[in-house]
Amino acid sequence: MFEVRIHGRGGQGVVTAAELLSVAAFLEGRHAQAFPSFGSERTGAPVVSFCRIDERPIRTHEPIVAPDALIVVDPTLLHQVDVFGGLEPDGWVLMNSSRSLEELQLTPLRERSSHPERLVSVPASQIAREALGRPLPNAALLGAFAALTSAVSLSSVLAAIRGRFSEETAEGNVVAAERAFAAVRGPAAALEASRA
């Protein structure tokens, strides 16, 4: 079982991101479960969503307490919420930021990790602004997530995006996801992955 927790704020599409990730896994013939942290939704309030991926049917309905991977949509949450709580020592962290992990003062986190290369920051909002004209970093983050973890393939992420949005919105998001994938793995790998 691969467990992902996504941190962001109300209005940033945190719940949709978990849903898309679950659809990407589903399209690969795997079992997936996505669910939000349940609360009174307010724009700007801290929001958490979850996604489980497994080869077997998923029966549990407890929240994810020890995630294998974290996606932090909004780095300002670092000062407000215990975003790294329960993270496995060999876990993946994807930060949405144009700053490096060192600049975000996350060097200690990297030092604690058994696999420091699994911790990256990607300027997903900036990529989204360029590709979509709006700073909606979801798709870009999922592209980067596919590149970082290989938990799902880029082509599944793109298919999930195309299945969820109207053609015009989907295409902008597809471009954002591809560019973010390239930002992690390099442009040649991205080209190959999007054709897979």
């Binding site: 978990a18 849903e19 679950s22 659809v23 589903f26 399209l27 079992h31 997936a32 479960q33 996505a34 669910f35 939000p36 349940f38 609360g39 009174s40 049917p57 998923i58 029966r59 549990t60 309905h61 407890e62 929240p63 307490v65």
Partner: protein, 417 residues
Amino acid sequence: MLRQMEGSQAIAATVASCRPEVICAYPISPQTHIVEGLSALVRSGELEHCEFVNVESEFAAMSVAIGASAAGTRAYTATASQGLLYMSEALYNAAGLGLPIVMTVANRAIGAPINIWNDHSDSMSQRDSGWIQLYAESNQEAIDLHIQAFRLAEQLSLPAMVCVDGFILTHAHERVELPAQTQVDSFLPAFSPRQVLDPREPVTIGAMVGPEAFTEVRYLAHYKQMQALDAIPALASEFESSFGRASGGLLRRYRTADAELVVVALGSVLGTLEDVVDELREEGLRVGCLGIKTFRPWPGQEVAGALSGAHRVVVLEKALSIGLGGIVAQNVRSGLAGSGIPVHTVIAGLGGRPITKRSLRRLLAEARAGRLNETTFLDLRTDLVERELQRTLASARSGPHAENMLRDLGAVAAGPV
């Protein structure tokens, strides 16, 4: 068709495939996505020959469902929490009149304190209303139970409630098999009402009945509901042969055959429990769980039979009878009276508190060691309770419990002014 979708949308699509003719609902979290989905299907014309009635309250929702059902149409509604309580009077009428309405309850706590999260307080509070109550373990089962509920309700001319854990299931995106329209059509024939308001053949549905026959009408209501104990397994078995998967029924036994310790539960926590049972079995412990799929009518004999080999029973429930303890446990105990098998009540998951595997493992270790009291509150913050009790002793005007405890937790920033 295999789909990855939200529980609420899957329920809406399935209810639509049951071809309801009247849907009347008032939105309330966490039921909202279900009725939004259905209203969209009616508006787009995808769900034909169906009227969606926007009502001004849950009382009106159930009243419209009663009228629609009495007029011979297949009627559906959905609600949760305070909404269910608000329709309570009409709920008893629907059952007393024997009208086969199907309703989804997206289970949620009841206030005060106001709380929008999941537990079973709402549906449990209506357990004596005369409605059949079915509880879904997963979104797949929620889908399947709705199809079975229409058939069951119409066969017995009784209303049926499908209870689905709010948020935990309604808002979860999971893989589900959506049944094809042709499959549903062959399982669920068109509604043929046992009684109908028809000006050409006038009848009174809802005649006043005095002491001369009230007991007999009530006896028949009980008799009819108890017939569901035979009808439900038969329907579940027919469902399995036509849809190719097991869903519903009275009970689900999970590794109970040689289990010394059996946990009884209902709803979505069963999946988490089954995982825990597997983990403990790998450690060589003889543990099993018993899922209650039908809570009303109460399958007393079947429950007693399933638990007869257990040395100890833990009933894990998401509702509380204040002043007594466990509601489900009370039902379980009635069937095990005289057996000498200890039955422990564990109140868990109230107001959305997560029920984690870690807590369940700790709980079952306590149970196996014989250290469990008659009633236990899982993960109770005794420090919070103690502080508040101290305040009530220290001052005659210690203020409202809820706000005091939120302040202790730092969730309310304001101090006394």
